[in-house]
Amino acid sequence: MILVQEADFDTQQQYQALQQDCPQIGAIVTFVGLMRDFNEGDQVSSLFLEHYPGMTEKVLEDIRQQAMQRWQLNQIRIVHRVGELAPSDQIVFVGVSSAHRGDAFAACEFVMDFLKTQAPFWKREQTPEGSRWVEARQSDDKAADRWNDESK
């Protein structure tokens, strides 16, 4: 399940959809990314999230399928917001259910690492000095790269 939307999401609703009374599930791992009020040494008062409609959904679906093939999973749910956000707002949800916790942890982190480096979202933040586009981080590239090195 993949959603790209302006509206906020309900983590509890997502969690329940992951669990859905399926007694084969032994582990649910969820990640929520939140907007911080500070970046690169500056106060950030708001964030605008732009995306490439159509391509975004395709890339997220591709990442989801890669994870489903790589680990033994029951379900992956991804929700990503776009548009105007304020500090402490929820930005992204990734939830994974599996029989085993190792698979659920790995898949959830894998999805986030690839989402960060491959999904066409761009952040523009408002600081006291004006508005600026957020620069990509090398640490995100490294985080995604390590999934190629690992022999799982």
């Binding site: 990314g33 999230l49 732009e50 995306h51 490439y52 159509g54 391509m55 395709k58 990503h80 930005i91 992204v92 986030m112 989402l115 960060k116 480096t117 491959q118 999904a119 066409p120 979202f121 761009w122 952040k123 523009r124 586009w133 957020v134 620069e135 990509a136 981080r137």
Partner: protein, 88 residues
């Protein structure tokens, strides 16, 4: 001989700001056959195009999929250019 074909171009984020355009429709000259050639062709439009497009780290997507610069344009309808992604 192929009919001249119209291509939809899209620009995102900083690139869209710098070029002051998000979308346009373009009829390709015959000699422009790859994504790299399309980029160089657009750079001819002026200094701001040159500055915005000839920059390290730029990505190109064809039919909403990131591609290498030598990807042929033939048979495709949508090409996008954008800076590194910063979502999540």
């Amino acid at each position: 001989m192929n009919m001249p074909k119209s291509l939809s171009l899209r620009f995102f984020a900083r690139l869209r700001d710098d070029l002051n355009t998000s979308e346009e429709s373009l009829v390709l000259p015959e000699q422009v056959t790859t994504v790299e050639e399309l980029k160089q062709y657009l750079c001819l439009r002026g200094d701001n195009w040159q500055a915005a497009l000839n920059t390290p780290g730029l990505f190109a997507a064809v039919e909403q999929k990131v591609v290498d610069w030598d990807t042929p344009l033939e048979g495709h309808e949508e090409v996008a250019f954008f800076p590194p992604v910063t979502g999540g």
